[in-house]
């Protein structure tokens, strides 16, 4: 890899840890970001000559901190004489810093930085954009492209989100066990949003989409390194890895959706599925089940089935029932209905769908599933009505195209 290549990869990898430590020093997001930016520029000059430092995050924290202190000193010089004694000599400091990092003193910093992005007053989209900008360091252009909005609009959203969080005082105390658990849960939900933002984009914007999924997995892995014994973080990472493993098989050349049962399983990324399985095995040992673990287990049952026909639907139905008890939601029931259609038939599944109709009347998948079940029962007119409703609720051209295919087939048959 070229110099710029490895330096870029190293800076990206070190960023969450470095920015969150700088954030604790300066207690100011903008200052922390500037300091990291400054340190990155110095790294681009220094690392090709001197080689990479032993611990890049420690190097960036120290250099960033010093650069920012220099800036403060320069500004104050215009008003009064500089106080040299305040600038400490930081020889050997990189080693000391590296040791602190090794000992995990900074894990709560990273969690805090991620948690700041999950501010409950921020709409989901802004949480995601903020995390991508601040924690991952994606450019506004990259984020705008992923969200299919103009750069100016995204810039404005991020500025507004930053202004909102600047008003709230982040706690710099070490969190207690309960606070830490709450933060982890909020951050996990936000990371899954980042992932789904990429996952649901479908065929369009392939690269930008890929990047969001990749970022969510990277940050989730980072969280897992900092909190290795959290079963839900293991579950979340596994869940995203399995869904991401199918990326290459989810769309055809025209960008239309290929359903799970029709996907070419040889295109699934076996290494990612294997890694996810290893993480699920670790999570299960804790005997503290949670929603991400259950969803990961469901995804793993699909991923491990050699063919669609060999899928263990009985077990999947059981897991959806467990998920329904943990986090009751009409969407989970809808998913259980799909499993029930495989184990008990379309009639039984439709009966489960009925009570959901009111709450899911604006949900594309509800009508897609309903149409498919009606079609299985040869109730063509009703199926057509459901598909027509689905099309009006589709959120992407790929979704609409998939339903269009059913409708076209129905009208071809009726001719």
């Amino acid at each position: 890899m070229s110099d710029v290549g490895w330096i870029g990869a190293t800076l990206t990898a070190a960023r969450p840890q470095a920015v969150s430590a700088l954030m604790r020093y300066f207690r100011d997001l903008d200052l922390a970001e500037e300091a990291f930016q400054d340190a990155s520029l110095r790294a681009l000059k220094s690392w090709p000559k001197n080689g990479p430092p032993r611990n890049p995050a420690a190097w960036l924290i120290l250099v960033g901190r010093n650069a920012a202190l220099d800036g403060v000193r320069r500004r104050s010089r215009q008003q009064e004489l500089p106080d040299e004694a305040e600038i400490s000599d930081l020889e050997d400091a990189e080693d000391a810093m590296a040791q602190q990092l090794d000992e995990g003193h900074y894990r709560d910093d990273v969690l805090r930085l991620l948690f700041i992005c999950c501010h409950p007053e921020l709409p989901a989209v802004q949480q995601v954009a903020l995390a991508l900008r601040i924690v991952s360091g994606l450019s506004v252009t990259q984020i705008a492209r992923a969200f299919l909005v103009s750069e100016a609009a995204m810039e404005q959203r991020i500025t507004r989100a930053k202004a909102r969080i600047a008003k709230t005082q982040a706690s710099f105390e070490t969190p207690n066990a309960i606070e830490r658990a709450e933060r982890l849960a909020a951050v996990a939900a936000m990371l899954y949003l980042v992932f789904n933002e990429g996952y649901s984009r479908g065929g369009e914007q392939g690269e930008a989409r890929e990047q969001l999924c990749g970022e969510a997995i990277r940050l989730s892995r980072l969280l897992l390194k900092l909190y290795p014994a959290e079963p839900e973080i293991l579950g979340l990472t596994a869940l995203m890895l399995i869904q991401h493993a199918r990326a290459g098989a989810r769309f055809d050349a025209d960008g239309s959706i290929i359903l799970l049962e029709d996907q070419d399983r040889s295109l699934w990324n076996a290494e990612q599925i294997a890694e996810a399985s290893a993480l699920i095995d670790k999570a299960v040992r804790h005997r503290r089940p949670g929603a991400y673990q259950v969803q990961a287990a469901i995804a793993a049952l699909h991923a491990r089935a050699p063919s669609a026909a060999a899928t263990d639907w009985v077990q999947i139905e059981r897991l959806y029932a467990t998920l329904e008890r943990m986090e009751p939601s009409p969407v989970v029931t809808l998913n259980r209905a799909v499993a029930v259609s495989k184990t008990q038939g379309a009639e039984a599944a439709l009966a489960l769908l009925e009570p959901l109709a009111e709450r899911l009347k604006g949900y594309f998948y509800f009508f897609g599933v309903k149409g498919a079940l009606l079609l299985q029962l040869d109730r063509k007119a009703e199926a057509k009505a459901a598909f027509t409703q689905a099309i009006s609720l589709a959120t992407s051209p790929a979704e609409a195209a998939h339903i269009r295919m059913h409708l076209d087939r129905l009208s071809a048959e009726s001719q």
Binding site: M1, G5, W6, A9, T10, T12, A13, A14, P56, D102, G214, R218, R221, L222, L224, K225, P228, A229, T237, E271, A274, E275, A278, L279, D281, K282, R285
Partner: protein, 123 residues
């Protein structure tokens, strides 16, 4: 003399490589491997899953303790390793416990293997 070569790098950086970057590195390594294997100089080589997939059996306590994550101490040194085909993580931990009974003290880090290259039967 047989030599083991242990591979170290920053996993955060390596796991953020794009597929194209990763493939390019593996292709370059593949060329080197090929020469070594055809000369029957290269035995098994492997690429491990990230440390997040690891558990560690501390066998300096009785009974040995299973902890999540990689082996993270600096006061012990890497002295050897096994490659074992296991049904599950529980199975792997069971094997490690058996080994620990025979040889207490220190730790076993149990890490799944991502890529296994069998190599050649050595000359």
């Amino acid at each position: 003399m047989l030599y083991a070569m242990l591979c170290y790098n920053d996993e955060d950086a390596v796991f953020s490589w794009s597929k194209a970057e990763d493939d390019a590195v593996m292709a370059r390594l593949g060329e080197v491997h090929e020469k070594l294997v055809s000369a029957r100089k290269m035995g098994p080589a492997l690429r491990l899953m990230p440390t997040t997939a690891a558990v560690t059996l501390r066998k300096d306590s009785d009974p040995p303790l299973v902890l999540d994550g990689p082996f993270a101490e600096t006061k012990e040194q890497l002295l050897g390793f096994y490659v074992i085909d296991c049904e599950s993580l529980e199975d792997a931990i069971g094997v490690a416990r058996d080994l620990a009974k025979a040889n207490p003290g220190g730790a076993y880090e149990i890490r799944p293997i991502k890529v296994f290259l069998p190599g050649a039967e050595l000359a």
